[in-house]
């Protein structure tokens, strides 16, 4: 199945051990940063002055002028609200309870009573879609947050410290990037008996940290040699302080952008795994489960398939587009 994207770093760094091409994401960037990156999703096109603007007037001032940013942010705010108080949203059309099912009304097409129709068990599809938001967002955010923290620590260690730490982390990322993302998750989830949003998130985090760690490493390496960091070292500041005040703020941007995209990818991965029968299981309510049960009846009841699909796609689209916009703004080296 598709790997949901292993964004390349796009930051070629002429370090000692980049002379050998990367194992999994062959770096098309020979020590020359103008070569386009090999990511699945190269950044949205922006004019060159965009990055200069970013440097000149700050990230926020650049971001807030972009319509796309506001569109994504608004969509995500609504989705988060839905995830937090689903019962309020579900109540809009008079069917607040996703588990109030009437078998006699199985697989009914949309009507005034059930705006999105009913599923095979006669449950309201709208209420289920609304309640399913929480699991998808929770898995996406939790997995990405975990992976982000691990990537931040290991990437910084490898990038700043270098030496054995760098070699260890690099080999470790090599091994994990050797798995196509979903195949790895399939293997682990097959062997885990209990599945909850938390365990699925843990497994997905296990396979998503290496991409970000690698990016963090190369980002830190390029900042480490910057003059202001040299100056901080020359002033005899403690390493912790140098990292927190001088290295991280300058190195974290591209990783934040990729992490945002990663949330979208993780949500796709979760729903795909659930669809395969490896992710969440009933009685959990999730888009993946709804789609899995809809698949065998799509000829007679396509509405069961259409509505969860739309929610899933809109969520992922908003995440990925937001990540793209952020990357334009935060990572001057990507175009």
């Amino acid at each position: 199945m598709r790997d949901t994207g292993t964004p390349g770093t796009g930051l070629g760094d002429p370090g000692p051990d980049t002379t050998v091409p990367d194992t999994t994401v062959p770096d098309t960037t020979v020590p020359d940063t103008t070569v386009p990156d090999t990511t699945g999703l190269p950044a949205l096109d922006e004019n060159v002055e965009h990055s200069e603007q970013a440097a000149r007037r700050g990230v926020w001032r650049t971001l807030r002028r972009r319509v796309l940013f506001w569109a994504c942010a608004a969509t995500l705010v609504v989705l988060v609200a839905v995830a937090l108080v689903p019962s309020w949203f579900a109540g809009w059309f008079g069917q607040p309870d996703p588990r109030a099912c009437d078998l006699a009304a199985s697989a009914q097409p949309p009507s005034a009573e059930h705006v999105f129709g009913t599923d095979l068990q006669g449950c309201d599809v709208y209420a289920n879609v609304i309640f399913g938001t929480r699991n998808s967002l929770a898995v996406g955010l939790l997995a990405t947050a975990l992976a982000f923290v691990v990537a931040l620590v290991l990437g910084t260690l490898a990038g700043y410290h270098g030496g054995w730490a760098d070699r260890l982390v690099s080999r470790l990322t090599d091994v994990f990037l050797g798995f196509p993302f979903l195949l790895g998750a399939v293997v682990v989830l097959t062997s885990i008996g209990t599945r909850s949003a938390v365990s699925v998130a843990l497994v997905l985090a296990l396979f998503s940290w290496p991409t970000m760690a690698r990016l963090m490493r190369s980002s830190v390496r390029s900042v480490r040699v910057a003059e202001h960091v040299e100056a901080a070292r020359a002033m005899g500041l403690r390493t912790g302080r140098i990292l927190l005040h001088y290295v991280l703020p300058n190195a974290i941007g591209p990783v934040v952008a990729v992490a945002t995209i990663m949330v979208g990818s993780v949500i796709v991965a979760e729903s795909t795994l659930t669809f395969l029968g490896l992710g969440l299981r009933a009685p959990s309510i999730s888009w993946g489960l709804q789609l899995a049960s809809a698949q065998s009846h799509f000829q007679t009841a396509p509405h069961m398939l259409v509505f969860p699909s739309i929610f899933l796609t809109v969520t992922v689209l908003a995440m990925i587009t937001l990540g793209d916009v952020l990357r334009d703004t935060l990572d001057p080296q990507s175009r």
């Binding site: 199945m1 194992t23 790895g184 799509f298």
Partner: protein, 310 residues
């Protein structure tokens, strides 16, 4: 660095990563709780002597690393293990590769033709409506989960319009494969288009293109010969890597369209909780992926002298 050293180094790296990856898979599957033999018996417990015999046959009483070594040495002899019903995973795989390879190559062809064409078109019209449409389309294409695409396409083109067979391989190539291949290709296609677009824009801005323009070469020739050829390298690399993904990326598609390929085998094994089959098939797919990647790196070194001489 000489070619021989480059190859040796890459092969050693490949082996290290393979041992790491395979051990991680092996350890994860077999060190986790749950007794596969007990699960085999279903509701009724198996007789003690049967359990003992099965445990010995599958080396279940030995430490994980010993089990791993047995498995690895078998693997090196082309044996991917047997499932609990006694069938050889390698034999089951051998029957199914042709379908998966046909599917992956068809998808790949779609990516190459459509992706490169769209990317070139958008790149040459940077900033105009066509360019923006291609960009928006590629984001959309990479946001829709592949199984949603697959099921929707099946519904629309298979059931409603009747243009393609709904499932199975009865209609043979190309009719049975076109629709599933297009679904697998969609994600990679978006990447190819964007990569090609970026690459074309870069090339158009390069000095040598300016020189070509200055000496009055017709635009057709500049684009058709020089820009095309120079923009192709990053795209080629991506396409080569993507072939590995495509071969492994067919689990969902083959499941949805019921194509009897490797992905479908994995799909069914997952549903039947057949641990050994899942591990065997995943390992084979990951191996294919690793080897493809190594070959791509070497190919890249051949194409791009800056890497060879770095």
């Amino acid at each position: 660095m000489t070619a021989a050293r480059l190859v040796t180094r890459r092969v050693v790296e490949l082996l290290v990563v393979f041992v790491g990856v395979s051990f991680v898979i092996y350890a994860m599957v077999f060190a986790l709780p749950g007794d596969p033999i007990a699960a085999l018996g279903g509701d009724r417990p198996l007789p003690a002597n049967v359990v003992a015999q099965l445990r010995e046959q599958f080396h279940l009483d030995e430490p994980v690393w010993r089990q791993y070594l047995y498995w690895l040495s078998a693997l090196l002899h082309g044996d991917l293990g047997t499932n609990f019903a006694g069938q050889s995973v390698a034999d089951k795989l051998a029957l199914r590769w042709p379908v998966t390879i046909t599917l992956a190559l068809t998808a790949w062809l779609i990516e190459v033709v459509v992706g490169v064409a769209l990317g070139l078109w958008a790149g040459l019209r940077r900033g105009r409506a066509a360019d923006k449409a291609v960009l928006a389309g590629t984001i959309l294409a990479s946001s829709i989960p592949v199984f949603v695409v697959a099921v929707s396409a099946q519904l629309l083109f298979g059931v409603r319009l009747g243009w393609f067979p709904v499932a199975g391989t009865a209609a043979g190539w190309p009719m049975s494969y076109l629709l599933p291949a297009a679904c697998v290709a969609l994600f990679g296609l978006a990447s190819v288009a964007r990569l090609m677009r970026g690459s074309v824009i870069d090339t158009l801005h390069s000095d040598f293109v300016r020189t070509l323009r200055a000496k009055g070469l017709p635009r057709k020739e500049i684009v058709g010969v020089h820009v095309m050829r120079n923009s192709a390298i990053p795209v080629l690399t991506f396409l080569a890597v993507d072939l590995g993904y495509l071969l492994g990326g067919t689990v969902v598609i083959e499941g949805v369209f019921n194509l009897p390929g490797v992905g479908n085998l994995l799909f069914q094994a997952i549903r039947a909780h057949e641990g050994p089959t899942v591990v065997g098939v995943s390992t084979a797919l990951i191996l294919v992926f690793l080897v493809t990647n190594a070959l791509v790196d070497l190919l890249h070194a051949v194409l791009d002298p800056r890497i060879r001489h770095a």
